[in-house]
Point group: D2
Chain length 343, copies 4
């Protein structure tokens, strides 16, 4: 069985395991004060070209709920695309911290200045509505699309004019970073108030970097991190991993490899006549399978059923990663092509 | 520098790293459905001699807040020793989920039936007070003491008669398990509604097992785990570690080694004339140092300042672990003895 | 200025003030244990033909957030029409207690069995989504429509089959009760797990009755009431008012009068050629005014701008109450007719 | 039966009922925008000699939880005397909004600069503890004592130096205001960041004024008020009452009368040989009764059992109000004296 089910179906990049082994018998102090965490922070700051608060946390939902609840006052809400992970997949994690998620019907999974202004307009009946204060974006998005630099700059502009802050969920940030024309780490440092750089799906055993360029949001962030259960006592386990990912360009290279494999899938399946839910440049692809094709392919390949536009067809999600082997991609394309031809 | 600062200052037991390396290139499904997590669950159930809900989570505070908020209705509170970790060290994590922590002035860090009844009596002015519903215990406690089986049975009895549930924070469960006369895993399965078996301080890179013998509390627990950010997408990372810790008696052996090293410290320092805050049978020891001794020893040894009973003395905390070397313990005893002799 | 702005623009029915004056120099115990509150409870139970938990609370939002947070576990959500007051007008009150409001695109402001099933289907990806547990309905609805008995019975049936509970926001319950074919108090006692009977908009100075036919939800409700700030120390102020409203048929008569006045408005404006947003049988009417008509009428009449379907027209909301005078209704119709004729 | 059980056992001052009757048939807009609420605000500002945010809310617990949750960030806590109402009597209302109540062992129910500094010292282990941010005081206190102006100034000074804010629960503010040497309304305007002026126990049917001299806390307060259910749609009902209470010196005169009646009780019982729990200058008195005296007196008089220092004696709470009649006080003294003499 070859899995294209998700990028978290893999283990860790070998350099991560080597680094953990190499440092295993050191004794270091806890709660992120250790030299590895500190080195990782400096490396990320270096790649951003900017001095700002950075810390590490065990997972993406924990990062989202900690940053968002740290940022918002009790009567403030967060604006998200209706496809946003915080709205669709995190069991009401944000609401559980007391905050409404205000959704926008975002085409292609992306917010726009117009959608943000519309959300504000829907919340003008003060004080009977929550106050939109934070805009939540994902890069790359939950359906594989990406914000261009220009798009993010336009969102920043409208947010500045309306007093809104921006938080970017970077569970798949590396896949975004590896695409030309999208924001770089330096751009995120300039355009986001806070963002994450996901490790779990990009070569780490687990873990996300939380990066907070806005100093006001960085204030007392360790209190929130500790309170929500995100501050690991043995913080070095995260530090060592991110030290390795950002020692050189491993982080972005992992994302680039995943995108390249996804590009092969996209090209190969397109050539075989498959349509796609959306034109995704990143490591998630959503081809439309006939049900018979699905039945055949799912015997040998892990994939996620996305939705069924009609009784005869199914969109599936195929995800590649830093670990995806080209031979497996080719095998899938061949088998899918065969299924279509015979269908 | 040799650290007795905390048991989270260490890396992982070599078998853990080997297991992670051995499985690294497998692809497995996420969110704890993988075969390693499932095997680890069966092993823990086997050692408990009981079929019950088991899952894994990245850290202790996250375990505490998830279990407690899952268990309590909004107007219910949790009873804890005033030394309880949830009251003293977790930045209001429980209150942040909406629940009051009701404290008891517990000598030696341990609750008793009398203290629990007293807490109930202090909350009899219904409905103007929260309803005590859950009793929080730690084994071993925050100051190194342990509940005997008999003590835990007596607490269970009073809880049953009063409609209270029991949750045991096992961040240092292995250190308790390794002491004769204390509850075994099977006993915890019989006497606790929920408990944790800590991995972070006992040989894992990180992670705690959450074990819920009470089926009513197990219902929908994955929802709470997901909501609070504790369900790891790459759940196998936890599963693989606990599969290794509970494959045989590694888990309890790690705790026993830590206790043995702490026993050497205790005996050696006692022989040299040092007094202790408390008579601890587990891996935390709290000797009383003269300030000059502290100044000398802290140059070479990591330790935590606990409190200062007067201007001339300081209680420090020394913690041993599965990784503590006997030679380092002996060195510390020798240096401490020398400091006292010369003082 | 004559106001059709809202039914809370009025004072209290004279019998309410008389009752408060009559009892003013009595001394009574607090927190709802007084004889007036107890009598009011018995009267409501009598009109329901059923023994169940009843209490009183100062306002509607407080009632909603107290009942809903009392009912739900932390990972459970409440299903509401997208027009529901808890979603649109209460500043995220429900989310602030930790719960997601799951919305349905309800035509005419009413949920249906199909919409409820659809909401469940959208939340089948367990445990990554909140668990729908409670269905929130309003009678009469925020846009004046009402559930028929048959419609409510159908909703009860689907809720029973799916393990869902029903809570009915009766801020304007009297207006619903006064319409033939809708559920009676006895029906609500049979079909709702909890509901409110609003006093603020129906003759009281302020206050809502909270009625909980489901004994499981009634358990410990005073704790939630006290915790959320809804238990009035001088509880008799609410008790005296509801004792008067439910002493005979004053409660329903107040609602009937409001409906009758609204019916006159509807008939008169229809005859003059005005269209309506919706066919409302209750005390809220939403005629479509040309902008020039609006400019003229708003000088002499209070009304709420509802929405603007195009640049030339505006839907307004006109609300009548127990206190609305027929002469004022006729005056409005005459002025509106004149405005249209001259337009 | 004559009740000294509580000051909420009474109805309303006759001027309140007259004002409600006088205005009953007016139509006014809702949510506190009506002319009566606005006039009441101006009167309070006038008596404070200061322009600041003022609003009204239905009850004291609701005021406390709304102000405190509005003021604090999620990781911040509120410091209170262990006798504070928010800690002892409000069913965890503050914790339910996510915040820890940090208690101090306050003699006589009053915080001091030393107690506050001690609370800070107990929370210096950053970030593992909540951040004390707000100091909660009651005037008069839960056990009848009062802060002098000098004491409040000293608390303000330490709070300023430590970055703490001050909130004063004025459920019985009028009783404090009526005592010489205590802070005036103008003083509270200068020394508190927020405070309440209770109406429920001082002549109103119900209701508390929330006064927020600190502009930063006033920002967006209506959002919090609305979210927590404290913003009454028919806001004029509160406005009319406070307009009457602060039209002249009715508010303070009500408090002065209650204090005077309590003073008579205190003097009369002292003369008869009764001891007191505490030397209270305000409207709550706590005499120590022999059990036989209690049995006799409780047949004819409402009072609250406070605590039992030994098996032979009971402290009771006697509360007077604006409505207490001198003849009833004299009758009680006579009966108590008789009981003691015969005992």
């Amino acid at each position: 069985m070859i899995s294209f089910n998700s990028d978290y179906d893999e283990g860790a990049h070998p350099r991560i395991l080597e680094a953990l082994s190499r440092t295993n018998y050191d004794q270091t102090i806890g709660y992120g004060e250790d030299p590895h965490s500190q080195a990782a922070i400096r490396q990320i700051q270096g790649q951003m070209g900017r001095d700002c608060y950075v810390t590490f946390i065990s997972g993406g939902t924990l990062a989202n709920l900690t940053v968002i609840s740290h940022t918002l006052l009790q009567y403030e809400g967060v604006v998200s695309a209706a496809t946003g992970h915080i709205f669709t997949n995190e069991t009401g994690a944000i609401e559980a911290t007391g905050h409404k998620v205000i959704t926008c019907p975002a085409e292609q999974g992306k917010l726009t200045p117009d959608l943000i202004v519309d959300a504000l307009n829907r919340h003008s009946f003060v004080p009977h509505v929550v106050k939109p204060k934070l805009v939540y974006l994902s890069q790359s998005t939950e359906i594989g699309t990406v914000y261009t630099l220009k798009e993010l700059e336009a969102i920043r502009e409208v947010c500045d004019s309306k007093g809104l802050l921006i938080y970017i969920d970077g569970a798949r940030l590396a896949n975004g970073l590896a695409i030309a024309g999208t924001p770089t780490l330096a751009d995120f440092g300039r355009l986001a108030d806070a963002f994450t750089a996901g490790g779990t799906k990009n070569g780490a055993l687990f873990g996300e970097a939380v990066i907070i360029p806005n100093p006001a949001l960085a204030t007392d962030f360790p209190h929130s991190l500790r309170q929500k259960g995100g501050m690991m006592s043995k913080g070095r386990i995260l530090g060592i991993q991110f030290e390795e990912l950002f020692r050189d360009d491993l982080y972005i290279q992992n994302g680039a490899h995943a995108n390249k494999m996804a590009g092969l899938l996209k090209d190969g399946l397109s050539a075989a006549g498959f349509a796609f839910l959306i034109d995704s440049p990143s490591n998630q692809q959503f081809p439309l399978l006939r049900n018979k094709e699905l039945e055949t392919l799912i015997k040998d390949y892990g994939m996620k059923i996305w939705n069924k536009p009609d009784s005869e067809h199914t969109y599936v999600r195929l995800v590649t990663s830093w670990a995806t082997k080209e031979e497996n991609v080719k095998k899938f394309i061949a088998d899918a092509t065969k299924a279509r031809t015979q269908g």
